[in-house]
């Protein structure tokens, strides 16, 4: 990979050990992927902010980087973490664990990161423009900005995005290059998608079939909501590590099928119809109707305003079951405005909790939960793998009904 004089100086350690380490990582990545050079980025977004993911090594690594003089050169925002930021005491998160998480956060702040603590940084001030080169981890967010905005990022890991943020550059390969952003597989959507969870189900189903390819979704309505695409992107990333899709008429690079495929023929055509949709709902439910639940999770990815408004509408005047925790996840920024608007008071009057900066997928099961209901296929994957709970997947309304009745699939 070509390095300019400035890059060479950093690599030789002339700007300190922290910058040198970060440059070594970028050079190694560039060599592995045959990148021609490094290009400037305008922002980075980091995952693995959670103490649960990186542990004490994460803390000592970050603190060492501070001592070694590293500091982010571009806007760098942070993913959710393992605790509720403001109300951990009230919610009984263990204090020793909280202190570790706070120490981890403190190190990120000293490195110059902005404490967004959300998987939807594009909603809260880190929103790249069309064509802008960035270096983002968090598979759902990076897929969203590639797909909806037409910004350009590879599927970065927490550490590669961190090094890119410190240097302000990333190796020029993969989804930064025009030719690799071309659609390769046609997904013909043959069923009406009514709920966010329908998009989440479709993403999970299709992701498994298109790993390593760029799917092109045809027949998605032009008035599709941003949060529905957010749900689709999150699910595609979980089951298929898909960093970018085209949605005809929505993705800036895909106004038509011909443009999406750059006048080539699709390598493959896949149909998604009612049968696949229903099969995915069944596949993501580990238990039958009637089973008691003790955890209901909404807000994966972190909920947008409309989704909090809808949750408030569904919970208005209701009480959730005494044996169920209903946790609705969002960012502090969205929470602040939603509270001012009145959504949060209505939601919490039901006994539900709106959680800021937190994600159960990167947390520990401190509360003995056994069975979780959720409207997100991503959360079913991590709920089972990380929290160790049995999972149930349905629409937002089905999840809220289960939280009220205490049982899955029971009418309220």
């Amino acid at each position: 990979m070509y390095l300019n004089k400035e890059d060479e100086k950093i690599l030789r350690g002339e700007q300190g050990l922290g910058n040198q380490k970060a440059m070594e990582v970028l050079v190694a990545i560039g060599d592995i992927f045959d990148a021609e050079k490094l290009i400037k980025i305008s922002s980075s977004h980091l995952s693995s902010v959670a103490y649960e993911s990186s542990g004490d090594t994460g803390i000592s690594f970050l603190e060492r980087m501070i001592i070694d003089g590293a500091h982010f050169k571009v806007l760098t925002t942070l993913n959710p973490h393992s605790i509720e930021y403001d109300r951990w005491k009230e919610l009984a998160f263990p204090e020793a664990y909280v202190k570790k998480q706070l120490r981890n956060i403190e190190a990120y702040k000293k490195l110059g990161a902005v404490g967004t603590f959300t998987c939807t940084p594009f909603l809260v001030g880190n929103c790249p423009r069309y064509g802008e080169h960035v270096s983002w981890a968090e598979s759902s967010a990076l897929s969203y900005i590639n797909t909806v905005i037409g910004a350009r990022t590879n599927r970065e890991s927490a550490l590669s995005a961190l090094c890119a943020g410190i240097i302000g550059k990333t190796p020029y390969y993969g989804f930064h290059l025009n030719e690799n952003r071309k659609g390769t597989v046609l997904i013909d959507v043959k069923t009406v998608l009514k709920h966010s969870s329908d998009y989440s189900a479709m993403g999970y189903n299709i992701g498994k079939k298109v790993e390593g390819k760029v799917p092109v979704f045809n027949n998605i309505p032009q008035n599709v909501k941003g949060y529905d695409i957010n749900a689709l992107c999150a699910a595609l990333a979980v089951s298929g590590a898909v960093p970018m899709s085209h949605i005809i008429g929505i993705t800036p690079e895909a106004p038509t099928l011909e443009k999406a495929f750059r006048n080539d023929n699709p390598e493959e055509k896949i149909t998604f119809d009612r049968v696949e949709l229903e099969e995915t709902y069944e596949d993501r439910c580990m238990k039958e109707s009637g089973i008691e639940i003790d955890l209901a999770v909404l807000g994966c990815p972190h909920y947008w305003y409309d989704q909090l408004a809808e949750t408030a509408r569904l919970l208005n005047g209701k009480k959730i079951h005494k044996d169920v925790d209903l946790w609705v996840n969002t960012s502090s920024s969205i929470m602040t405005v939603a509270k001012r608007t009145g959504y949060i008071d209505i939601i919490e009057a039901s006994g539900a909790k709106v959680m800021c900066s937190y994600c159960p997928a990167v947390a520990r099961n401190f509360f003995g939960w056994k069975t979780m209901a959720t409207d997100s296929t991503k959360q079913t994957f991590y709920g089972h793998g990380v929290l160790g709970v049995d999972v149930l997947f349905g629409t937002t309304e089905q999840v809220i009904n289960a939280a009220i009745s205490g049982k899955w699939g029971v009418k309220v």
Binding site: V25, A28, I29, S53, D56, G58, S157, L159
Partner: protein, 140 residues
């Protein structure tokens, strides 16, 4: 090369430094996340041919990494716990192993002139000098 002799081959430096020790060789790829215990240095992946083997202090020779990018943290945790391999040799390395080795400070060489998973045998004494991009193999 005679049995008493030594063979030296060139490769590509990915992570700097020098390490020597006994080789532990596999032709299978490995996921460090959920594949290696960061507190014991032992391979725990049930499906791996080296399951139960300890990689501490070894010259760990394998084709490349696989699995979650969180695997980089596991390599760094092995270093923190003083139970990391002395060096790593890959056929062609990947993002996870490269980042973990560089940030953990484990010497890593790949793209040797010959396939290291066939050339090097478990138990061979190997000297990895990443700064010179060389691997020396002393047969047992």
């Amino acid at each position: 090369m005679g049995r008493e002799g030594m063979i030296e081959i060139k490769g590509r430096k990915v992570s700097k430094g020098r390490g020597e020790g006994e080789a532990l060789v596999t032709t299978q790829t490995i996921s460090f996340l959920a594949g290696v215990d960061p507190d014991r240095g032992v391979i725990i992946d049930r499906a791996h041919e080296l399951r139960g083997q300890c990689i501490t202090g070894k010259i760990f020779v394998f084709p490349r990494g696989k699995g979650s990018t969180g695997g980089s943290w596991i390599i760094m945790r092995l270093v923190d716990n003083n139970i990391a391999p002395a060096a790593i040799i890959n056929i062609e390395t990947d993002l996870i192993i490269a980042i973990g080795s560089i940030l953990g400070g484990i010497p890593l060489i790949d793209k040797l002139d010959k396939d290291p998973t066939l050339l090097i045998k478990t138990g061979d004494y190997v000297i990895v000098d990443a700064d010179k991009s060389t691997v020396k193999i002393l047969n047992q």
